[in-house]
């Protein structure tokens, strides 16, 4: 939105965004298209796109004259002829379903303004990835959200969409998702869906407008994984900073570990399931997995999202923790080191955990919890805090507690379920 002075000038000349104008300053004369104002910077500078493609900002106050030359040209609508072409009949069971949930991978840029829009239709998707034309796929856009805005309700929506597609039949499922919370969604689907086919989550760390985007390689690798024998909920992303291969991570063991690198996703406390070598269309298995067809499809979307995830910090006050815990049906704490919380906080936690489940995870992310080694840990075991000897990620534990609370209200049963690996979130041995 333009600031008052700029808006006033544009209004007085009946100039709208996208119109072409001639502007005179005290020194020069310029022609160009009026661009929408980006939020930051001086909103009283009018942004003009010159014929050489550059944008410049000119202060409204310095503009002596402005005249409209031509009204905004509508972008020509593309003929729908191409998409109307009769599609070759393919057995739905042979198709990979691509479900869209938004995020960088599915976004398109409007080149004039630089604004990023979600690709909403399947046609737009194929347009962005011409290689998809050769693939046996069908696409369906569920919603278009930046993943920080994805909620447990959306996880359920996705699970239900998976169910519908499974009923139609498919070879595998690829879920395009924003990367920020992709590991939460992957964990949620791991608990909620028992699958005989691969369900692969995929995203992109670099925007799709740039030649260097990782979107293409990640998506095509995910499709390859969805056609494979690995019938689990997984995340498929760049394995290294090179454009060489992707890793397939188990949905409950994966975590975004870098703000920006292509290889931000890492398997925590285990090897990735497989290496996906797109160039050679080859999948190299690195660890155990569930084979295609061994599991009967089922979904169970009962969740209780009223769970707190609390980061413990030095100097944290009893009252603060108490307030964070109250009104929740369960809590996951991110403790320090082997899984500790300050001694001072143990009795507050104990009070809560006598009625409601409290699970511990570690801020170190890597490694196994052990509440035997120090007195604090032993006292935490007394307080019946769940987590001793587990190697889960905070997010996998957090989503798991929602799932478990959706299934039982009985504290003993809850503790038992939390201590049992439901979807590979807990492993008993660690070799590295």
């Amino acid at each position: 939105m333009y600031g008052t002075k700029a808006a006033k000038l544009l209004n007085s000349k009946a100039v709208e965004i996208g119109d072409s104008v001639r502007i005179k300053t005290d020194r020069n004369e310029y022609e160009g298209l009026v661009m929408p104002r980006i939020e930051t910077g001086d909103t009283n500078c009018i942004i003009l796109k010159l014929s050489n493609g550059y944008n410049i900002g000119i202060e409204a106050e310095r503009i002596k004259e402005m005249s409209k030359m031509e009204s905004k040209k509508e972008t020509p609508k593309k003929d729908k002829v191409e998409s109307a072409k009769p599609k070759k009949q393919v057995d739905p069971k042979e198709e990979v379903v691509i479900l869209g949930c938004g995020g960088t991978i599915a976004s398109k840029i409007e080149y004039k303004t630089g604004a990023v829009f979600p690709a909403i239709t399947s046609e737009e998707l194929v347009e962005s990835f011409p290689q998809l034309k050769e693939k046996k796929i069908r696409t369906r856009m569920l919603f278009s959200l930046l993943s920080e805005n994805v909620t447990p309700q959306h996880w359920i929506e996705i699970a239900n969409a998976i169910k519908e597609e499974m009923e139609k039949g498919c070879k595998g499922i690829v879920l395009m998702h924003g990367t920020d919370t992709m590991h939460y969604t992957a964990a949620a689907l791991s608990y909620m869906v028992k699958t005989p086919v691969p369900i692969v989550l995929v995203g992109a760390q670099r925007s799709s407008d740039r030649g260097s985007s990782d979107n293409m390689m990640n998506l095509l690798s995910a499709i390859l994984a969805a056609e494979s024998d690995i019938a689990e909920v997984t995340v498929c992303m760049h394995a290294t900073e090179n454009d060489d291969y992707c890793y397939l991570h188990r949905g409950t063991k994966v975590r975004k570990m870098h703000t920006s690198r292509r290889d931000a996703f890492k398997s925590i406390n285990e090897q990735p399931i497989a290496k996906v070598d797109l160039d050679n269309e080859r999948i190299e298995i690195l660890s155990d997995y569930t084979q295609r067809g061994k599991t009967k499809f089922a979904i169970d979307t009962k969740l209780n999202p009223n769970v707190a995830l609390i980061y413990i910090y030095p100097g944290m006050k009893r009252q603060q923790l108490k307030e964070m815990l109250q009104n929740h049906d369960g809590a996951v704490l991110m403790g320090t080191g082997l899984g500790h919380i300050p001694t001072e906080l143990i009795d507050v936690t104990k009070e809560f955990s006598s009625k409601k489940p409290v699970a511990i995870t570690s801020q170190t992310i890597y490694g196994r919890l052990n509440l035997n080694v120090y007195e604090t840990g032993r006292n935490m075991q007394d307080a019946e805090i769940i987590g001793h000897l587990l190697d889960w990620t905070p997010e996998a534990a957090f989503v798991k507690l929602m799932f478990v609370l959706g299934h039982s209200k009985e504290i003993g049963k809850i503790r038992e379920m939390m201590n049992t690996s439901l979807a590979g979130e807990i492993t008993e041995r660690q070799e590295e």
Partner: protein, 609 residues
């Protein structure tokens, strides 16, 4: 060139000069390169469709050509911003300030708010697939004094601050290319002139003037490759051709004149091509590629034999009625055949063999009759041949054939070589290549930034100053010198202006003529030498001698060399002692032996007693 030959010729320059800022344009990496390589990164770039679903022809061309690139990563000069694994940081305001200084110098209007754009580049030279660039100034003009003494006004269309690309290290034909990441992101200024230049000579003079205006700011990086020019050239009836990467000022003149000649000769050839096409309207679709590998099975041509043994193919095609065309000279040592060869090279070929060449240079003659038979050649038919991997040969022949019958001078981007010839690179980029860099916030040019920049002296002020302190001839020389900055620094240090100018210009020239490697004498060493003189530690006549020594041992340091090689001044008591000890009575015999150590003025006075 005479008036007739320059009529309608339009030449515009785009000068790129690296700025000597402390950090890169969008991160805190150093701009000073090193050889501390720590790792390699391998990336692919793909063509991205524009908003209309079109892929830019230039971008598509590059993405087909080069699928995988290797980037060398150097410690201290590269970070995740260069590897495209982290968004850009804030704009380096030091670079923008330099832009504002240049605006003032070139009478351009400051932009109130700077918006960085992404310019799509997918030849691999930018890891992101685009170059960040922003206009800081518009509509400037400069006056250029031409060598004929006339003044010429040259418009400055745009002044932009942009990111330098990766340095290319080696090219493995066809697929992989290797780049160095340390150069990526160094700020550079791009000055684009209006197309008012009429000849190669003028282009050179304009480039020289702009170059020295930039240097006079004292904010430009020095050294090989820190400046390069792109040149846009068109002649009436020809086309706009962009020649990339002319690094040497001396080449500009040749490149421009060659290009003007190339377009004019092509226009003449096109008339003949039109005649052929009139008789054979479907000729564009009549390419028939013949595999003639068998004919060369037992060839005496070593290079063909070797290639065939490696499993390569020899493919040939007839070009109807084109005999004699390929030998047509477009400019000295560049024929229509060389022109077409440039197209084959983009497909990974070494070049083409054509009918207008002397086959003795390839070492075969016997096969020609058989070749003619196979291609069913008639009298005036020409032929071309390529050797290499079969699919690549096929695409090369298709491209060359299409180009051969072109009836318009193609708009294209060409690359300049070190001889001033240009070679086809890719089609001209379309307009869809620029869009906003949304990761970088716009930068308001505040009054403070402008004030700071404007306190820097203008080039005119510098010119005036020099005219006041040097004689007219020397002043002209100095204003045009690439040592202008050093000169300004020297007089700042209190060196006498004429001595500074003579040393920078005449002395170095004389040394070069006498075969001393002047390139090894750094500006710091020149400064150090003149300061030694100013401090009375050497005499004037020792200056050239000391510079000679420096050129042979640049690392030793001027003071150390002077001492070591007995070039230090003998003065005062020491001088008197010398005169007494050696019993020297007259100035002449003193100077014969101690010219490089004794100031004659002082000696005269001492001798007078």
């Amino acid at each position: 060139m005479d008036k007739e030959t320059t009529e309608g010729v339009k030449v515009g320059l785009e000068l790129h000069q690296r700025l000597s800022t402390k950090h890169k344009l969008f991160c805190k990496c150093s701009t000073k390169g090193n050889e501390d390589k720590s790792r390699e990164i391998k990336r692919k770039l793909h063509a991205v469709p524009s908003e209309l679903g079109q892929i830019d022809p230039a971008a598509l061309f590059e993405s087909k050509k080069a699928p995988l690139h290797t980037y060398d990563f150097y410690k201290g000069t590269c970070c995740l911003v260069e590897t495209d694994d982290e968004p850009p940081h804030e704009i380096n305001e030091e670079a923008i300030e330099i832009g504002i200084i240049i605006n003032k110098m070139m009478n351009a209007e400051n932009i109130d708010e700077i918006h960085f754009m992404r310019k799509t580049v997918i030849d691999g030279s930018n890891t992101s697939g685009f170059q960040r660039t922003a206009i800081v100034g518009l509509n400037g003009k400069i006056m250029v004094i031409l060598s004929n003494g006339k003044e010429k006004e040259v418009g400055i269309q745009t002044i932009a601050i942009e990111e330098e690309s990766c340095g290319i290290i080696g090219e493995q034909k066809g697929s992989m290319e290797r780049f160095r990441l340390d150069r990526l992101g160094i700020p550079l200024v791009e000055i684009a002139t209006t197309p008012v230049i009429k000849s190669g000579k003028e282009a050179r003079e304009v480039a020289e003037t702009i170059g020295l205006m930039l240097r006079s700011t004292g904010k430009m990086m020095r050294g090989i490759g820190t400046i390069r020019q792109d040149i846009n050239i068109s002649v009436p009836g020809g086309a706009r051709v962009e020649v990339k990467g002319v690094q040497d000022l001396d080449l500009i003149e040749k490149v421009v004149d060659n290009e003007i000649s190339r377009q004019k000769k092509l226009i003449e050839l096109i008339q003949k091509i039109n005649e052929i096409k009139k008789k054979n309207p479907n000729i564009d679709g009549e390419l028939k590629i013949e595999d003639v590998t068998d004919i060369f099975k037992n060839t005496k041509s070593k290079f063909i034999k070797k290639a065939v043994e490696k499993g390569n193919s020899v493919l040939a095609a007839k070009l109807k009625s084109m005999k004699g065309f390929f030998g047509t000279e477009l400019y000295p040592e560049f024929r229509y055949g060389s022109e077409l060869s440039g197209y084959a090279k983009t497909q990974g070929m070494g070049g083409i063999i054509h009918c207008d060449e002397d086959m003795n240079k390839y070492g075969f003659t016997e096969e020609i009759a058989e070749l003619a038979k196979k291609l069913k050649l008639e009298d005036d038919d020409g032929w071309i041949m390529v050797v290499g991997e079969k699919p690549k040969c096929e695409s090369a022949l298709a491209l060359v054939y299409k180009r051969a019958y072109e009836t318009k001078v193609p708009e294209e981007t060409r690359r300049a070589d070190l001889e001033g010839k240009t070679h086809y690179m890719r089609p001209l980029p379309g307009a869809a290549r620029m869009y906003p860099e949304t990761d970088v916030q716009p930068l308001k040019i505040t009054k403070e930034i402008v004030k700071k920049a404007e306190s820097a002296p203008s080039f005119k002020e510098i010119e005036e100053k020099i005219k006041k302190i040097l004689n007219p001839e020397m002043a002209q020389k100095m204003i045009r010198s690439d040592k202008l900055n050093l000169f300004l620094e020297l007089i700042e240090e209190g060196i006498e202006p004429t001595l500074a100018a003579v040393t920078c210009e005449d002395t170095l020239k004389t040394l070069r003529r006498d075969n001393f490697d002047v390139g090894k004498i750094g500006e710091e060493s020149i400064k150090e030498t003149l300061l030694l003189y100013k401090e009375g530690r050497i005499v004037k006549s020792a200056i050239p001698e000391l510079l000679k020594l420096i050129s042979k041992d640049p690392k030793a340091g001027a003071a150390a060399l002077a001492k070591q090689m007995k070039l230090t001044k003998i003065t005062g008591k020491e001088l008197k002692e010398l005169l007494a000890k050696e019993n020297i009575k007259d100035l002449q015999s003193l100077m014969i032996r101690y010219r490089l150590n004794v100031d004659p003025q002082e000696a005269k006075e001492v001798m007078k007693g």
